[in-house]
């Protein structure tokens, strides 16, 4: 049986609302009864517009935030148990949007070594881990470079290597490609998929880009602090109307098939790729 690396039960998160003098005058519910189970080794995507609760959810998986109500377990550790907080953070590593905010070393390999060094790993093993991590993100050729001179995509891969060097079972990436150009986006996404497929690391990818999602094992769509939809990418993208209502995009071929269907053409639901569209088109015009 596959075990769940992450499980949330009736997770609720309230942020306090303050007046100008800093007095708490109420609260704002950012997560409302979220129940999610994520299998070890899977590739999971979380979609949702700004303010839907995605990032708050991500912060719970790394014990940056604690539940207002309900529970979160990461690798079997309850995130609200103070004594397990380091176990939680070693099990699940986070990568954020802005690569410039995550790099602290003056040389790439030093930056990647920071995490394991901080964990008290022995020097020899630190270097093994740095080698492993830089190879995993394909940045070994740059190990002695200054991070300043790297492209956005390369910096983001270094940030990912920094997390990989801590040997987490799970990596959570909060819009890791939002600030990158198309080349950088491709590099980062292919790195993430590689880590998932060959290194067996569970990946939780939070994103706005639908094309990054079509290879995921499971997709969660968040809206107004709740999980509004969940399923395989095909199941999710079969519901173009609802995605649009929530304010999300679909891949262009999916949208085109949807528009054709609206015009009475019997295209099937859930077309995700150019190949699928071409095949379906062939069936129709025959």
């Amino acid at each position: 049986m596959m075990s769940n690396i992450i499980r949330t039960k009736n997770l609720i998160h309230d942020y306090p609302k303050c007046d100008e003098d800093g007095n708490v005058i109420g609260s704002y519910r950012a997560l409302d009864d979220v129940n999610i189970e994520i299998e070890q080794g899977s590739f999971v995507a979380v979609l949702g517009h700004n303010g839907s609760g995605k990032s708050t959810f991500a912060k719970h998986l790394n014990a940056i935030l604690y539940p207002t109500e309900g529970c979160v377990w990461v690798n079997g550790y309850d995130t609200s148990a103070e004594e397990d907080v380091w176990n939680v953070r070693q099990s699940a590593g986070m990568v954020f949007q802005n690569p410039d905010n995550q790099i602290i070393g003056t040389v790439v390999e030093e930056d990647v070594a920071f995490g394991p060094e901080n964990m008290g790993v022995k020097t020899k093993e630190i270097w093994d881990r740095v080698n492993y991590a830089l190879n995993a993100v394909r940045m070994n050729a740059y190990r002695e470079h200054s991070p300043n001179k790297l492209s956005g995509g390369q910096k983001q891969r270094v940030a990912i290597a920094g997390v990989v060097a801590m040997r987490p079972k799970c990596i959570i990436l909060d819009e890791p490609t939002a600030m990158l150009d198309p080349v950088g986006r491709k590099e980062v996404i292919s790195t993430i998929k590689h880590l998932n497929k060959t290194e067996g690391i569970t990946v939780i990818l939070i994103t706005h880009y639908m094309d990054e999602v079509i290879d995921a094992d499971r997709v969660y769509v968040m809206n107004n602090a709740k999980v509004e939809m969940q399923g395989t990418p095909r199941e999710i993208f079969s519901n173009v109307e609802k995605l649009k209502e929530i304010g999300l995009d679909v891949p262009q071929v999916t949208e085109l098939a949807y528009e054709l269907r609206k015009r009475g053409i019997s295209m099937r639901d859930g077309i995700l790729t150019i190949d699928e569209f071409v095949e379906e088109y062939g069936r129709l015009v025959k």
């Binding site: 700004n50 939002a178 198309p182 706005h208 071929v253 085109l256 528009e259 150019i274 071409v278």
Partner: protein, 280 residues
Amino acid sequence: MSIKLENVNYIYEDGTINRFRALKDINLEVNDGEFVGLIGHTGSGKSTLIQHFNGLVKPTEGVVSYNGEDIFGEKYNRKNLRLEVGLVFQYPEHQLFEAEVLQDVAFGPRNQGLSEKEALIKAKEALALVGIGENYYNKSPFELSGGEKRKVAIAGILAMEPKILILDEPTAGLDPKGRDNILELLKRIHGERKITVILVSHSMEDIAKYVDRMIVMNKGSIMYDDSPKKIFRYHKELEEIGLAAPQITYLMQRLKESGYDVDENATTIEEALKGLNINA
């Protein structure tokens, strides 16, 4: 009325070991009322180019002129130029600094020498134009969402009533709704105020949908300067420089190659709906 660049070269850190030629022999004219998309991967020279448009950087060689006058001529008033050519940087919301939204937007016109009353009128007009209502006037910029902050930042430039509006990746980091909001806003401003818009973007889908003219930069040179439709025919060349055509272009070309009677030049969903030649 136009911005014109003639044989413009720009070299960073000339005379040092870090010498880098960021722009190479650029010849370009942007005319009144155009909606231009500027595309190129990181480091292709886009940002250096747009900084020439309002004289923030001086070309190492060549001439930049605005309405026929050399903007680096001896008596040229570049302060005036910057009022007419508004530049919205990447992540402009990082530049919001006043305690209240209305005051932030009024900063520009106030700086132009307008009276307090006039500056506030301009600020209110600009906020109305970007769809930010009165109930936001006294809010702190920090209380706003990412998309709202960006609209306020754009309003800060619009309040100075520029004739040309240049935006460096105005939708970066926004969600799909926020992105569509900003792009529709630009389209509306372009139509209503008849101003020239120059949009730097990484999204080919957006460029295909909104602009009339597209300029592709590569390694400091202009590689293509034409309508998006014509340029997307060179999708293989675009891929070689790290760019791509919209997904629709690839779909239509695949269908054509598979022997179907479709319009392989469609670049948007609307064009594809017509070009697929399929009826219910």
